[in-house]
């Protein structure tokens, strides 16, 4: 066996691979440029599709002239919204269930860059050339850009809907009156409007697909999807094609971050094109199309109010949010959770009472509201509470670490019922924070800061002790399009003791090919190098809801461990036959079967596997495989303590992140190297969101960040050096105690960065600046504060 052993890891029970930094099995393929992405698909006779986009954010369509486009050599067809109306495919249901979305604009366009027509041609270039020549006659209308304008209902954006209002829905959770009463009685109350800006997951690989109908009329659909099975069902429901006549294949995916959960208009157009032209169609987005039309994230305006006693004990939390969903309510949240898991907004703290409410509105902006590396609105919630706690600390002139310590849910209080209805599974918030404070040298940093402040320099320390809720989810609460949010695993062990593993999830870079093999290897005593992991093909993978919301390890990982135990139970019978003992007398010790009380009489799983096919024993079912659908009993609640140290240049507003420490607690760690990689990636995204990323719209409704010159992706030059560490508080209800970690760094870090900058500016009386903390915003805050001080 070629399992890498970690000599330093000698704590705890002996494991084969669990907790060890095994190199990623998928990487040789990626590192040598041999990944197989959707755009690598080439089929005979394949046409290319290009989309015509609206230059206006709000306009009536008076007519569309296809003639010039159709005259371009190589162009096969141009379709518009009217063509789709004829085929009853003009509208697409959103996963959320509250709304539908135009595939190609019908009658009017509702956001800049909206899809208006699709062109099919023999080459990409011809498709582009022709797309430019589709002549659309627009009658521009005044756009509604701010949700605060939209809520006035002066202009109704969606005249297709029965309800003549821009209000999409109201959501609330908790005790409205009790919270107000507690706030009224509080000795101290802080309140702040905190905006989580519209940003975009911006995966390196944009979205795309290849649609092909085979000779039997079956649809083969290669697509950049984080949830291939959901796509299959959705396509069947939208198009009426029987589900057995659809095969969805997600090959290698170059990052998703939530952007590849929704079904996009381009997919429907490509399928329609393949159907009417009777030849395969490929559509690959441009970067601009990805940034301007596919699922954005956040865009929550949150009024956060916290009540407390003078000693810092929190008494109540109220959060009132206005959500901007753009032209269609295309957020991909579970049906019963229009505001996702925003109810985790009470964070790591013991709020005796809380109330959160949210109203969502249409505007003339791109649709979305996807969970960008977060379990449905958890980042917004975490940012709100972690920012709010610092604002409270500043008001009380209390150390933010001490304020947190005073209010943490204590280790002995788990399972803990939060004021907004979640049952937190486990955690050690104080332990994790203390580890972070010690590791970064908190007391020493505070001393340094005091010296710098005396010299008029701006240094800040920011803490975020966030709690996440991941692993959607238990079937009684969670569904998408009615489909319960279970996940699944299938394990087949071959005669030679190797095997194949399939799940309903789909890696987009998270390393499932390695982690899944490690889980099964650990349960079965096999070599992870010889356990092939295959995901993403709906013809072969068991039905699952896919990979997002940090749900793969909590749900599919659990399914895998339990399916492996099923395999083990089958194997036990074969082992009993080989060892000539009763199955009840066979125990699983040190990754092999042995006769109870007679350790010398043992067989390995490899030997049992061979016997399962060659000599299973009388009455035993031959073969060695199992599948399992796992309905999680609860969500898991990873947490962490992050600390940022910054220096602010008061002249330019430049912020230098001098240090950043992330201590994560994601329960049992399967592969620490992969966990660290996930943390580095997520922290870099969090850094970008805090300091440079936003999809802003100007007053005319123009998208101001339609490419990477404006939507900024930090490089190693900008990104701080990440320091990481962990504590381990296993989930009590997960078969191996794992909680999920992919999203923690994106969820937890923005508040740490912003808190650090606000801490630096605290002597000036600055309490809050909205992200992204551009140099100019910081410069302006300093300058305004200095001017105010001077005029006092």
């Amino acid at each position: 066996m070629s399992i890498e052993t970690d000599a330093t890891n000698n704590a705890g029970p002996q494991t084969l691979t669990m907790g060890k930094g095994m190199k990623r099995k998928e990487d040789p393929r990626f590192l040598t440029g041999n990944g197989n992405y959707v755009d690598d698909m080439r089929l005979p006779g394949m046409l290319y599709m290009a989309i015509v986009h609206s230059p206006y954010p709000h306009a009536n369509i008076k007519g569309i002239d296809k003639a010039a486009a159709l005259a371009v050599p190589g162009v096969k067809a141009v379709i518009t919204g009217e063509d789709l109306v004829a085929a009853s495919l003009a509208w697409l249901p959103t996963f959320h269930g509250f709304d539908k979305q135009m595939v190609l604009a019908v009658g009017k366009v509702l956001f800049q860059h909206q899809e208006v027509a699709a062109v099919f041609a023999e080459t990409r270039e011809a498709a582009r050339d022709a797309a430019e020549l589709v002549d659309v006659d627009y009658e521009p209308l005044d756009p509604v850009i701010s949700p605060f304008d939209s809520m006035k209902d002066e202009v109704i954006l969606r005249d297709d809907r029965e309800d003549k209002t821009n209000h999409i829905y109201h959501w609330d959770s908790g005790d409205r009156d009790g919270t107000q009463a507690a706030l009224d009685d509080s000795e101290v109350v802080v309140t702040e409007r905190i905006y989580a800006p519209r940003c975009h997951p911006a995966p390196l690989e944009p979205c795309g697909c290849v649609a092909q109908f085979d000779a039997m009329g079956r649809l083969h659909f290669w697509v950049t999807s984080q949830a291939p099975h959901v796509y299959r069902t959705a396509i069947s429901l939208v198009t009426g094609i029987p589900e057995d006549k659809i095969r969805v294949i997600s090959p290698d995916i170059g990052g998703g971050f939530g952007n590849k959960v929704p079904v996009y208009p381009g997919y429907v157009c490509a399928i329609v094109g393949a159907l009417i032209l009777k030849t395969p169609v490929k559509w690959i987005e441009t970067r601009t199309e990805n940034l301007t039309t596919t699922g954005f994230a956040r865009d929550y305006h949150m009024d956060v109010t916290i009540g407390a006693k003078k000693d810092g004990t929190v008494t109540a939390l109220k959060v009132k949010t206005v959500a901007d969903h753009g032209a269609f309510d295309a957020a991909a949240d579970p049906s019963k959770y229009p505001a996702g898991m925003f109810g985790v907004v009470t964070g790591s703290y013991q709020f005796p009472v809380a109330f959160a409410e949210l109203d969502a509105y249409f505007t003339n902006k791109a649709p979305g509201g996807v969970a960008y590396r977060c379990s449905f609105r958890v980042t917004e919630a975490s940012y709100a509470i972690e920012r709010g706690m610092d604002i409270l600390a500043q008001k009380l002139t209390m150390d933010p670490a001490e304020l947190r310590r005073k209010n943490f849910v204590r280790k002995d209080q788990f399972p803990y019922d939060s004021a907004l209805g979640f049952t937190y599974d486990s955690g050690d918030y104080e332990g994790t924070m203390d580890k972070a404070l010690n590791q970064i040298g908190y007391a020493e940093l505070r001393r340094e800061q005091a010296e710098k402040r005396a010299r008029g320099e701006y240094m800040g320390i920011g803490i975020s002790t966030f709690t996440e809720v991941v692993g959607a989810g238990p079937s009684k609460h969670f569904d998408i399009l009615g489909i319960k949010m279970f996940d699944s695993a299938e394990i087949r062990i071959h005669p030679t003791g190797t095997g194949i593993i399939r799940t309903g999830t789909k890696s987009q870079g998270q390393g499932h090919e390695t982690t899944w093999a490690q889980i099964v290897a650990e349960e079965l005593g096999l070599d992870p190098q010889n356990l092939l992991v295959e995901e993403g093909d709906t013809d072969t993978a068991p039905y699952g809801l896919g990979t997002y919301a940090s749900r793969s390890t909590p749900v599919a990982g659990a399914a895998l461990a339990l399916a492996a135990r099923r395999v083990r139970e089958k194997a036990r019978k074969v082992a009993a036959h080989l060892l000539e003992a009763a199955a009840e007398d066979i125990e699983w010790v040190d990754h092999k079967f042995q006769v109870m009380g007679a350790p010398s009489r043992s067989v390995t799983m490899k030997e049992v596997a061979f016997a399962a096919y060659t000599n299973p024993g009388e009455g035993n079912e031959p073969g060695l495989e199992a599948s399992l659908y796992y309905d999680p009993p609860n969500m898991t609640f990873p947490h962490g303590a992050y600390i940022a140290v910054v220096d602010v240049d008061a002249e330019t507003g430049e912020v230098k992140v001098r240090r950043f420490l992330a201590i994560d607690d994601c329960g049992t760690v399967i592969n620490p190297m992969i966990v660290e990689g996930q943390v580095h990636g997520g922290l870099t995204e969090g850094f970008a969101i805090a300091f440079m990323q936003e999809i802003p719209y100007d007053e005319q409704g123009n998208n101001m960040a339609p490419n990477f010159m404006e939507y900024l992706i930090p490089t190693s030059v900008e990104a701080p050096v990440w320091e990481t560490g962990s504590t381990v508080t296993p989930s009590p209800h997960h078969p191996i105690g794992a909680k999920g970690v992919g999203e923690s760094p994106n969820v937890g870090s923005p508040a740490a960065f912003v808190n650090a900058v606000m801490d630096a500016l605290a002597p000036l009386g600055v309490t809050h600046i909205d992200m992204p903390l551009t140099r100019e915003k910081v410069w302006r805050a300093i300058r305004d504060a200095q001017a105010a001080a001077a005029s006092d």
């Binding site: 330019t652 900024l712 490089t715 551009t774």
Partner: protein, 293 residues
């Protein structure tokens, strides 16, 4: 993103390139490093019918000192200056500038002359060329002419090159031992154009007083901006903190940027001030004169 269709001519000498330009007139565009032109074509913001590629013109790729100038050929890439020990030792302004343009990948392809020909007011070489009083060499069928950089940079994306003319070289006067400079840039991230930037070059006399001053701004107007008032103010002065403050205030006044996602007019103007002051302090430090308060 795909460019519109175009014809492509690969030149092997300046003469071949000139012939192609003569043949195709306004339809033709020179392709040097392609780091500005190709992105614009991919977004279909530029649609030249004919590209005349200088990539094969090997004898335009040179860097040498001659006649009191550093001569940079039209196909000399940014990276060549960055890696040249002589440039690094003596041309502090150019060295600073080269280090903050785009990212290393772009600098391996982009050319100094191409950047100046592009005429982007946000391009970094423009201000550096102004502050160091560079001269462009243009060649056409009728011969060569020298164009002082102030005359070369006309407006946004507009130079004084005429149709059929090729820029073959830019000359930066070689600094004497009492000359140093600095390029100061604020950018949102590596690879971004300047939010604000300033080029400064100073020559001191034996008495420590300024004998030559070059001060110019990037992204502060329709073309790179020379801060005349600051240059005049510095002449004959010791580089004291007061003088620096006064000179940098002139930069704030003359800066005329437009507001965009990088910042407001007010912020960019103030950064012009901050960066000129920093550039002057850095130059003074390089000249071994501590700034006196």
């Amino acid at each position: 993103m795909f460019p519109a269709a175009f014809d492509y001519i690969r030149a092997h000498s300046a003469e071949e390139a000139l012939a192609a330009l003569a043949q195709h007139g306004a339809e033709a565009r020179i392709l040097a490093g392609g780091q500005s032109l190709i992105p614009a074509m991919r977004l279909r913001l530029a649609r030249p019918a004919v590209l005349v590629d200088l990539g094969g013109v090997k004898d335009l790729g040179y860097l040498r000192e001659e006649g009191g100038d550093l001569r940079v050929g039209a196909m000399t890439r940014d990276v060549t200056l960055e890696r040249d020990a002589n440039v690094r030792a003596r041309y502090s302004l150019l060295t600073d500038t080269g280090a903050v343009i785009a990212d290393p990948v772009v600098r391996c392809l982009g050319t100094v002359v191409g950047s100046l020909c592009h005429g982007d007011p946000s391009g970094d070489w423009g201000a550096a060329a102004l502050a160091s009083r560079a001269v462009m060499v243009a060649r056409s069928a009728s011969g060569e002419r020298l164009i002082p950089i102030d005359e070369f940079l006309v407006d946004s994306f507009q130079t004084s090159l005429e149709e059929g003319e090729l820029a073959v070289e830019v000359r930066f006067p070689t600094p004497d031992g009492r000359t140093h400079g600095s390029y100061q840039k604020i950018e949102r991230k590596v690879g971004d154009y300047a939010t604000a930037a300033a080029a400064v070059q100073i020559t001191l006399g034996d008495d420590g007083r300024v004998t030559h001053a070059g001060v110019a701004l990037t992204a502060a107007g329709p073309r790179p901006v020379r801060v005349d008032a600051a240059e005049k103010l510095l002449l004959g002065q010791l580089l004291t903190e007061d003088v620096i403050r006064a000179a940098s205030e002139e930069a704030r006044i003359v800066s005329d940027p437009f507001a965009d996602t990088r910042g407001s007019v007010e912020y960019k103007k103030d950064m012009a001030r901050v960066l000129v002051a920093r550039g002057l302090r850095a130059s003074a430090a390089r000249l071994g004169t501590g700034v006196t308060a």
